[in-house]
């Protein structure tokens, strides 16, 4: 039996909300970063689910791999983003001896 599309979407939405909650509520900057990763991956699930759904519905050729390609690009970008984010956090830590996000409010005038 085939898992219906809505199940995937519910899982992805849940994952997104968990990620959003994590990004908004964690004090630790690494936790925020992890929340962001969760949100990105929930988007990946969506992308793949819709890709599969459309492929089945239209019976298109297997060469149309656009959904997977999108997901892979997102993973790549997320990896790069994680690297940059962690580097930033380390830099902030070296300067301020903290990674608590509410203490890093230098963007305020």
């Amino acid at each position: 039996m085939q898992v219906p599309l809505s199940w995937y979407l519910i899982v992805a939405a849940a994952l997104f909300c968990i990620g959003l909650y994590g990004a908004l509520s964690r004090r630790n900057a690494i936790g925020v970063l992890m929340g962001v990763e969760l949100m990105l991956n929930s988007v990946n699930i969506n992308l793949l689910a819709f890709w599969r759904h459309i492929e089945v519905a239209t019976a298109s050729t297997p060469a149309a791999l656009s959904g997977q390609v999108f997901a892979i690009i997102v993973i790549t970008v997320a990896a790069a983003e994680a690297a940059v984010g962690l580097a930033l956090i380390i830099a902030v830590y070296r300067n301020r001896r903290t990674v608590a996000i509410e203490d890093v409010d230098m963007m305020k005038l």
């Binding site: 959003l20 908004l24 230098m106």
Partner: protein
């Protein structure tokens, strides 16, 4: 070939102008170089001027004024629908002036080097400037005679006026112990302002001429149609335009040629350096007035027997006699010559007034030569006496001379100078013979021609409707003036050169340097022989400007020799000389008292004080003018300034009210209000900028959710 040189006529004023510019801008510090530049400038003008003279002599038939001439137009001024063409021209009248102007200028330029004490310790501190000024003056005079229209003529006329002012006041720092004696600075101002009266009148005439004819070019103005138009249209009843314009133009000549009643400036102009007196106030500039009348002669005779000719004749004849009476009682050697100049200019003007156009120009030319000679001779005398005075003063410091009181111009301080200064003396005597009209010197021929024409006018009725009465009046006055001329000239010669020196200074006066005496000798030659070109039998002057001239459609008459008149004028001149010898020569003066003083009594005082003209003008014209000026100034300060100040005060009050009522509450309020609103908005928005990343994300997330809801609701 003549075409080529005639087309170069515009170079004539340009040469001295270039010399002026070069001296003023670059060589002012180098005296010798400045001298040479001025000499070269005028020398080139002289050579070109004489080339043009001889070429136009050869072609005089095509070049006789007033309507013929070789035009050299330079440019046009567009004036609406009319074109005002400015340029130069060559005709025989111009050519005749070119005989005299550049040559006399050159002689005087050469003479100036010695007079300004080049190469001695007394050299004038403003030596180079002097040469620059006289070069500019030469530019003015040359430009005047080659102009082909009234506009450039007026411009050059005014350049000369300016130079005259600058040169009379050349020693502007000089002052005299006698406070009543006029200083060079005041004399310059007086000359400038007095001639200015004439210039303004003349300008009015020129403007009227333009308004009536629409042209100011000589050949067009003097054409028969134009003159006919001027003579037959009336400015107001009984006054044709030609008469009015002629009278106004004559006003300019009265000022420039120092005729009564504007004669007062010329004697005081003698405060300038003597070369200037010779150049400007004897030979060239003052004759510009006569030249102007001669040039505009067709306008003067456009209305036959009109008022204008009577006025010209009267002013001329009266001035000739009047000035010669004053000259009798002057002791300043230069002032005698100044009054003599006024008198001789009167001769020329009177000649024009009786229609003797050729004779007037002839006398103008000869007079320029011998009067320049006399002036330069007097300058040489003054120079010598001054040097003698210095010599005595420095050589024997125990003598009783004091520098302040000694006047080297005073003939009473001279005497016996012929032995000390033979070259100056003999050339001066030649000039005097020419001036007094003794046969065969130049003055005899030219003066005799004027008298003969006047007499001819009396006997047969004059040309151009001159009445017999006027002609006789002119002849009588001029003959009387000839007698007085001979008398005061004889007096001058005997006082200056004859007898024994009356002061130590005269006893030690040295002869002047060669650069001063050579010009005298050359001019003396001209004073002797120039008249031979104008004898009644072979009158080259008549050939040049008279024979082919068609003034208002008529040919000029040929002046005839009249033995009676020649005899009378010679007899009168000899009588004058004899009387001069009788009083001053027979028994040379030993005391500086004029023997005329006692017998003439109050008349002598009257003459000595020049008929009190200066005092009368001071009292009746200058003082009222100054008083009027004061009244105007008071009016200006009280009323005009009051109004201006009131306007200012009102303006200030109004603006302060406006500030309080409008600017502060409304304009400033609006501006401040905008600022306040912006500040408040900023204050409010600022609260959202926490700097905390999580807040921003929250805002973004909430916004997305809200938009999502909106989207769903709309769908």
């Amino acid at each position: 070939m003549s075409e080529f040189f005639f087309n170069l006529v515009w170079l004539l004023p340009l040469f001295p102008l270039a010399a002026f510019a070069i001296i003023v801008l670059w060589t002012n510090r180098n005296r010798l170089l400045s001298t040479w530049i001025a000499w070269i400038g005028i020398g080139l003008a002289w050579i070109l001027g004489w080339i043009i003279l001889f070429l136009s002599w050869a072609n005089f038939e095509e070049l006789t004024p007033p309507v013929h001439g070789h035009p050299v137009p330079l440019y046009s001024i567009p004036t609406g629908s009319l074109q005002l063409t400015l340029g130069f021209q060559v005709d025989t009248l111009t050519a005749l002036m070119l005989l005299m102007v550049p040559f006399v200028c050159l002689m005087i330029f050469i003479y100036s080097k010695g007079y300004m004490n080049y190469g001695t310790e007394n050299v004038d501190p403003r030596y180079s400037r002097f040469f620059a000024y006289i070069s500019l003056f030469a530019c003015g005079m040359l430009g005047l005679v080659v102009s082909d229209n009234f506009v450039t003529l007026l411009v050059f006329w005014e350049i000369m006026g300016l130079c005259s002012y600058l040169l009379i006041g050349f020693w502007f720092d000089k002052s005299y112990p006698d406070p009543k004696r006029i200083t060079p600075k005041e004399a310059g101002l007086k000359a400038f302002l007095t001639t200015r009266i004439g210039d303004v009148i003349m300008l009015a005439g020129i403007l009227l001429l333009y308004s009536q004819t629409g042209t100011l070019t000589f050949t067009q103005v003097f054409s028969e149609e134009t003159l006919h138009h001027l003579a037959t249209t009336y400015a107001f009843p009984g006054m044709p335009w030609a008469t009015l314009i002629a009278l106004l133009i004559f006003g300019g000549a009265v000022g420039k040629s120092s005729q009564f009643p504007l004669h007062v400036w010329l004697p005081d102009a003698m405060e300038g350096p003597t070369p200037v007196s010779a150049l400007i106030h004897a030979a060239t500039m003052v004759s510009a007035g006569v030249y102007l009348v001669a040039r505009s002669f067709p306008i003067f005779v456009a209305v036959p027997g009109g008022l204008q000719l009577s006025v010209v004749a009267f002013i001329g004849a009266f001035t000739a006699l009047f000035a010669s009476t004053i000259a009798v009682a002057q002791n300043d050697i230069k002032r005698v010559l100044a009054y003599s100049t006024i008198s001789q200019l009167g001769y020329m003007i009177a000649a024009l007034g009786v229609g003797a156009y050729v004779a007037a120009v002839f006398h103008l030319i000869t007079h320029a030569f011998f009067k320049a000679l006399l002036f330069m001779g007097s300058g040489s005398v003054i120079h010598g006496v001054e040097h003698g005075h210095h010599h005595v003063h420095h050589g024997h410091s125990d003598t009783d001379h004091s520098d302040g009181d000694f006047d080297p111009n005073d003939m009473m301080n001279m005497g016996g100078l012929l032995k000390r200064m033979p070259r100056t003396g003999w050339t001066f005597i030649i000039g005097a013979l020419a001036l007094t009209g003794i046969f065969p010197w130049a003055g005899f021929w030219s003066k005799d021609e004027i008298l003969a024409e006047a007499w001819h006018g009396f006997q047969h009725g004059g040309e151009f409707g001159v009445t017999m009465g006027w002609a006789f009046f002119v002849w009588l006055f001029l003959t009387l003036a000839a007698f007085l001329t001979a008398f005061y000239t004889g007096r001058q010669i005997f006082l200056t050169f004859a007898g024994q020196p009356r002061t130590e200074a005269a006893k030690h006066a040295p002869e002047s340097v060669p650069s001063m005496t050579w010009p005298l000798i050359i001019l003396a030659l001209f004073a002797t022989f120039l008249g031979l070109f104008g004898t009644p039998w072979a009158n080259q002057f008549f050939t040049l400007i008279g024979e082919k001239a068609e003034v208002v459609g008529e040919h000029l008459p040929h002046g005839e020799f009249n033995l009676l008149i020649a005899g009378v004028s010679t007899a009168v001149a000899l009588a004058g000389w004899f009387l001069g010898w009788l009083i001053y020569g027979r028994k040379p003066l030993t005391e500086p008292v004029d023997p005329l003083e006692k017998p003439l009594g109050p008349v002598y005082t009257l003459l000595k004080n020049k008929y009190y003209f200066d005092e009368i003008y001071q009292k009746f014209i200058i003082n009222p003018t100054i008083s009027l000026g004061r009244v105007c100034a008071t009016f200006d300060r009280r009323v005009v300034d009051g109004i201006v100040n009131a306007v200012g005060t009102f303006g200030r009050w109004l603006s302060s009210w406006l500030r309080k009522a409008i600017d502060n509450p409304i304009v400033d309020g609006a501006v401040n209000g905008v600022g306040w609103i912006t500040a408040q908005a900023g204050e409010f928005m600022r609260a959202t900028q926490t700097g905390n990343v999580q807040n921003y994300i929250l805002v973004a997330a909430v916004t997305v959710v809200l938009l999502l809801f909106l989207f769903l609701i709309r769908a």
